[in-house]
C-alpha cells in the first residue's frame, strides 16, 4: 500500500523522476488532503480561475512563471533587514528580501520546480514542511540531500498531490537558521474546492525570537523568547484583518516557533477548526472553538462568519506572548513601597524610578512617550495607543475589524464606533442604588 502511494506521488514527474503510473485508488483515500484521483493530471492552477489567493498580512506571495507546464519558483536565501514593528529592526535571514519568506501558493496537481539559491554565509536547505514529496526532495540536510553551499543553486521538483496549509523552512542547522527567520508559508489550494468558499482567506506563520533590547540580531542560542510574531511582525506592527459583516473568514495558522505552541484566541466570534496540516477535518468531526491551539510544526485552519461588527483582538493567549521584549529574572517589585525605595536609591542615582510596583501597565506608555529612555532599537513592553487608552498588549496580537461597510479602496477603517449603549462605562449612582450594588461594602465570603 505504501509502495503504491509513493509511486502515485511520482506519477506526474516528467523531469527528475519518471515512474510507471500505477492505478491505486485506495491511495487517494489514504491522504484526505486530496481532491484528485491517482494519475489524474491538470494544467497549472491559475489564480482567479482555480483559486482565490490567500492574504498574508504584512507578507507577500512568491511570484512564479509557467514553463512547459511546470510552475517555476525561485527562492533566494539571504540576510535581510527586517522591521518587526516600528522602532525594532533585526538583521535576520529570510528569502527574497523578506522575513519570513514570501508565501508560495500552488494548486493541487501542479507540477512544481523550485530553485533555491543560497546567498547566506552558511549552507542551507529547504524542507517542504507537511508536504508529501519524494524522499530526495524532502530537503533535510544530510538525509535527503547535501546542504546547499553558499553560492549554489539547487532545484526541487515534484507534483503537488495534496492541499492545505503548509510551510517551508531550512532543515540545516535548524536551531540557528529558523531562529533567524528562514521559513515561509506554503499554501496548496484544492483542485476541486469543497464546501463554502471563504470570502477572506488569511494566512499566518507564527514564530518567536529573542531580540535583546538594544541588539539588532535575533539570538539563535536563546531558549527563551521575548518577541512573538504573526508573519514576523509584532503588535503594534501587525496589520489588522478586515471583514464585512456576514462574510466567511478563513484564517490559516501555521506555527514554526522554536519552543512554543500558541493557543490563538479570537474575540467576539466562534470559530470552527476545519483543517490541520494533515488535511480537512470531516464535517462530522469538526468542533467549535474560541481558542485554537497551534502546536509548533503544525497548522490549523479555522473558519467563522464575521457576524459581530467591532474591533476584535486576535491573539495568542499565553500572556508572555503578548508582551514585547519583557525581561525576566528581575526582582518582583509588585506591591513594594516605591516611595521609600525611590528615596534611598535616588540618593545615589538621581534618575532612578521604581518600576513594576503596580504592575507593568504603565511601562509601555512611559517608554513610548520617551521620558523613560531605553536602549536603541527596542520596544520593551510597548503596546499601542487605542481609542480608549493604552493597549498593554504587544507581540502575537492583531485585530479583526468587522464592519458593515469597508472602505472601497481596501484601506483600514478607523476605530470602531460603538452604537450608543453598547460600551462599558462608569456605573451611575442611580444604577448602583437600583441594583443594590455598594462598591464600598466589605467583601462577602
Amino acid at each position: 500500500m505504501k509502495l503504491s502511494r509513493r509511486n502515485a506521488l511520482l506519477a506526474g514527474a516528467t523531469g527528475l523522476a519518471a515512474a510507471p503510473l500505477l492505478a491505486a485508488s485506495a491511495a487517494a483515500q489514504a491522504n484526505p488532503a486530496r481532491t484528485m484521483r491517482d494519475g489524474e493530471s491538470a494544467p497549472p492552477g491559475v489564480a482567479g480561475r482555480d483559486y482565490r489567493p490567500v492574504i498574508t498580512p504584512d507578507g507577500a506571495a512568491l511570484p512564479y512563471r509557467i514553463q512547459g507546464g511546470v510552475k517555476i519558483f525561485h527562492l533566494v536565501a539571504e540576510e535581510v533587514e527586517h522591521e518587526f514593528a516600528p522602532g525594532l529592526v533585526g538583521r535576520c535571514w529570510g528569502y527574497n528580501g523578506r522575513v519570513h519568506g514570501p508565501t508560495i501558493e500552488a494548486v493541487e496537481g501542479d507540477r512544481l520546480r523550485i530553485y533555491v539559491t543560497n546567498r547566506l554565509p552558511a549552507p542551507t536547505t529547504v524542507h517542504w514542511h507537511g508536504l508529501v514529496v519524494p524522499s530526495g526532495m524532502d530537503g533535510v540536510g544530510g538525509i535527503s540531500q547535501p546542504s546547499i553551499r553558499p553560492g549554489e543553486t539547487f532545484v526541487y521538483e515534484w507534483t503537488l498531490r495534496q492541499h492545505g496549509t503548509f510551510m517551508y523552512h531550512s532543515h540545516h542547522d535548524e536551531m540557528t537558521q529558523m531562529a533567524l527567520g528562514l521559513m515561509g508559508l506554503f499554501i496548496a489550494h484544492p483542485r476541486r474546492p469543497q464546501g463554502p468558499r471563504a470570502d477572506r482567506d488569511y494566512a499566518y506563520l507564527l514564530s518567536e525570537w529573542q531580540m535583546h533590547p538594544g541588539a539588532s540580531r535575533p539570538d539563535p542560542n536563546a531558549m527563551e523568547f521575548n518577541l512573538l510574531t504573526f508573519n514576523a511582525r509584532a503588535y503594534p506592527g501587525t496589520s489588522p484583518m478586515l471583514a464585512r459583516t456576514g462574510e466567511r473568514v478563513r484564517i490559516r495558522l501555521a506555527n514554526l516557533s522554536a519552543m512554543d505552541h500558541h493557543p490563538i484566541h479570537i474575540h467576539g466570534h466562534v470559530m470552527t477548526v476545519t483543517e490541520t496540516d494533515g488535511g480537512p477535518i470531516p464535517q462530522s468531526a469538526r468542533w467549535p472553538e474560541t481558542t485554537v491551539l497551534v502546536p509548533t510544526g503544525s497548522s490549523r485552519t479555522v473558519e467563522f462568519i464575521a457576524d459581530n461588527p467591532g474591533d476584535w483582538a486576535f491573539h495568542c493567549h499565553m500572556t508572555h506572548h503578548v508582551m514585547n521584549q519583557m525581561g525576566h529574572g528581575i526582582p518582583n517589585m509588585t506591591g513594594v513601597n516605591a516611595r521609600r525605595i525611590d528615596r534611598a536609591v535616588g540618593a545615589i542615582l538621581p534618575h532612578y524610578m521604581t518600576m513594576g510596583h503596580d504592575g507593568m501597565g504603565d511601562m509601555g506608555p512611559h517608554v513610548e512617550s520617551g521620558h523613560m529612555p531605553v536602549p536603541g532599537n527596542s520596544l520593551p513592553m510597548v503596546g499601542a495607543q487605542g481609542p480608549h487608552g493604552y493597549v498593554t498588549m504587544g507581540g502575537m496580537v492583531t485585530l479583526l475589524k468587522v464592519r458593515n461597510r469597508l472602505p472601497a479602496d481596501g484601506s483600514h477603517p478607523g476605530w470602531y464606533d460603538d452604537p450608543p449603549g453598547t460600551r462599558a462605562r462608569i456605573a451611575r449612582a442611580e444604577e448602583l442604588t437600583r441594583d443594590g450594588v455598594d462598591p464600598a461594602a466589605p467583601p462577602r465570603p
Binding site: R340, M360, V374, P380
Partner: protein
C-alpha cells in the same frame, strides 16, 4: 728677642681678626640653607605659617608651612650651623698654652715662671685645617639643603596622601550608601512578600562588608591627616587641604637623558659626597706633617728668680717613631673610601633618576588611561545599565552594582592619581637635588655622607 716675640703676637692677632670674617649665627645659617633649598625647589618657608594654616592649603603652601614650622628640620639644619662653627674655629689661630708657676719666695723675693707655648702643628697646618673645616662645612651645608628639599617633598607627599585618603573615604561612604539602599530595597521587597529571607540576608552581608571597608577608609584618612599635620609641624586639625580632589595628571615627562644629567648635576647628596672625598684626600696629603708635628709645641719661658728675669725658648717634640706608617695608611684608606662612596653615590643618583623617570612616565600614563578610558567606560556602563533597567531587562540590584562599579573606577582613579603625584614629587625632588627615595643601592645619601664625615677628622 722681645721684638720678635711681639711680631709673632701681632701676626697672631691680625690673623684672628681676619678669621673673624667667618661669622657663626645659627639663624643666619638656617636662612642661608633654606634660601638655597628654595632656589632649587621653589619652596620657601612661609612668612606667616600660622595664617596659612588657618585657611585651606594648596600643596605649595603645605611645603612652605613645613619648611617654616618643622622642628625636626630645624634640628637637621643645626648640623650645618655646627659645621660652620667648626670652620670658624679652624680659621682662628690655635690657642696658646700659658703655664705660670709660682714658687715660695726665697730671700724675700717672689719667684715665678711663665711658659707660653703654641702647638706647632696647629700653627703650621693652620691653612690646611681651615680648608678641611671649610670642606666639612660645605658637605654639611649640602646635606642641610638636601634635608630641606626632602622635607618640602615629604610635606607634598603627605599632602597628596591626605587628599587621596579623604577622597577614598568619601567613595567608600558612597559604596556604603549604595549597599544601604540595597538593604532598604530588599527589606521593602520582603515586606511586600516578594522575596525569601535569603535575599535579605545576602544584601545585609554585602552591607556589613561595605561598612567595614568604609570604617577602614575613614581610619586611613584620619591617619593620613595626622601624618600631614606632623609633616607640617602643625597641630592635628590645622591643615585643611584646599582641594577635595587631586589635580589631573597634567605634567609631561621631561626628556629622559637631559633629566638624568640635570639630576646628577643638581644632586646635593652627590655634592656632599664629593666635598667629603676632596676633604679626605686633602687630609691624607697632609697626614705626614700632621703625624710629625702632632704634639710638637714651641714657646717662650720667662723665669723670675731672685729679682732677675730670664728668657728662654722651649720646644717639645714627640717623634712618631712607631705609628707614622699606620697613620698615613689609615688616612689613605679613608680617602679611598670617600672616593668610592662618591662614585657609588653618582651611580645611585643616576639609577634613581632613571627609575624616577620611568616611574613617572608609567604613573602618568596609567592615570591618564584611567581618566580617559576607564572612567568614561564605567559611566557608559552605568548609563547603559540604566537603559536596560528602564527596559526592565535588569533589576534595581544590577543598577546598584553598576553604581558601585563606577565608584570602584573612581577609587582606581584616586589610586592612580596618588601614584602619579608621588612620582611627580619624586621626579621634581631629584631635579632639585634632593635625596633619591630608595638609596638602598647607593646608601641613603645623607646618612652615608654623615658616616663619611664621622670617619674623617
Amino acid at each position: 728677642m722681645r721684638a720678635r716675640f711681639s711680631s709673632v703676637l701681632t701676626t697672631v692677632f691680625a690673623a684672628a681678626l681676619l678669621a673673624g670674617c667667618v661669622s657663626v649665627d645659627g639663624a643666619a645659617e638656617r636662612a642661608r640653607v633654606l634660601d638655597a633649598a628654595g632656589e632649587r625647589s621653589d619652596s620657601f618657608p612661609a612668612a606667616d605659617a600660622g595664617a596659612l594654616l588657618a585657611r585651606p592649603l594648596s600643596e605649595d603652601e603645605a611645603a612652605a608651612v613645613a619648611l617654616a614650622r618643622n622642628a625636626a628640620l630645624r634640628a637637621e639644619l643645626a648640623e650645618a650651623g655646627l659645621a660652620r662653627a667648626a670652620w670658624a674655629q679652624a680659621s682662628l689661630p690655635p690657642n696658646p698654652v700659658l703655664e705660670f708657676t709660682s714658687m715660695p719666695p726665697s730671700g724675700g723675693q717672689a719667684s715665678w715662671e711663665l711658659e707660653a707655648r703654641a702647638p706647632l702643628a696647629a700653627l703650621l697646618l693652620w691653612p690646611h685645617r681651615q680648608a678641611l673645616a671649610r670642606g666639612a662645612y660645605d658637605a654639611a651645608q649640602y646635606r642641610a639643603v638636601a634635608a630641606a628639599v626632602d622635607h618640602a617633598a615629604a610635606a607634598r607627599r603627605a599632602f597628596t596622601a591626605a587628599v587621596a585618603a579623604a577622597q577614598r573615604a568619601e567613595m567608600f561612604a558612597q559604596v556604603e550608601q549604595a549597599a544601604a539602599a540595597a538593604v532598604l530595597t530588599v527589606e521593602e521587597l520582603r515586606a511586600a512578600g516578594n522575596v525569601p529571607a535569603l535575599d535579605v540576608e545576602r544584601e545585609r552581608a554585602l552591607h556589613h562588608r561595605a561598612v567595614l571597608a568604609r570604617m577602614q577608609a575613614d581610619l586611613d584618612a584620619r591617619q593620613a591627616h595626622i601624618a600631614l599635620a606632623r609633616a607640617l609641624g602643625a597641630v592635628e586639625d590645622d591643615p585643611r587641604p584646599a582641594a577635595s580632589r587631586l589635580p589631573d595628571p597634567e605634567m609631561e615627562a621631561p626628556e629622559r637623558d637631559a633629566f638624568v644629567e640635570a639630576a646628577i648635576r643638581a644632586s646635593l647628596p652627590l655634592a656632599s659626597a664629593r666635598a667629603e672625598a676632596e676633604r679626605a684626600l686633602r687630609a691624607a696629603g697632609a697626614e705626614g706633617v700632621e703625624a710629625l708635628l702632632d704634639h710638637a709645641e714651641a714657646g717662650a719661658v720667662f723665669d723670675r728668680h731672685h729679682g732677675a728675669t730670664e728668657r728662654g725658648w722651649l720646644v717639645e717634640f714627640r717623634p712618631p717613631l712607631f705609628d707614622f706608617a699606620a697613620r698615613s695608611a689609615a688616612a689613605r684608606i679613608r680617602a679611598e673610601a670617600a672616593a668610592d662612596r662618591h662614585a657609588a653615590m653618582a651611580a645611585g643618583v643616576r639609577a634613581a633618576a632613571l627609575s624616577a623617570h620611568a616611574g613617572f612616565a608609567a604613573a602618568a600614563a596609567r592615570a591618564r588611561y584611567v581618566r580617559d578610558e576607564l572612567l568614561p567606560a564605567s559611566e557608559r556602563l552605568l548609563n547603559e545599565t540604566m537603559l536596560q533597567y528602564n527596559a526592565m531587562q535588569l533589576g534595581v540590584f544590577d543598577l546598584i552594582a553598576a553604581f558601585e562599579a563606577r565608584v570602584a573606577a573612581g577609587t582606581e582613579y584616586v589610586d592612580a592619581l596618588e601614584a602619579y603625584h608621588h612620582a611627580r614629587i619624586t621626579l621634581m625632588t631629584l631635579a632639585q637635588g634632593g635625596t633619591p627615595p630608595d638609596a638602598s643601592g647607593a646608601g641613603n645619601g645623607a646618612a652615608m655622607a654623615a658616616r663619611g664625615a664621622a670617619g674623617g677628622h
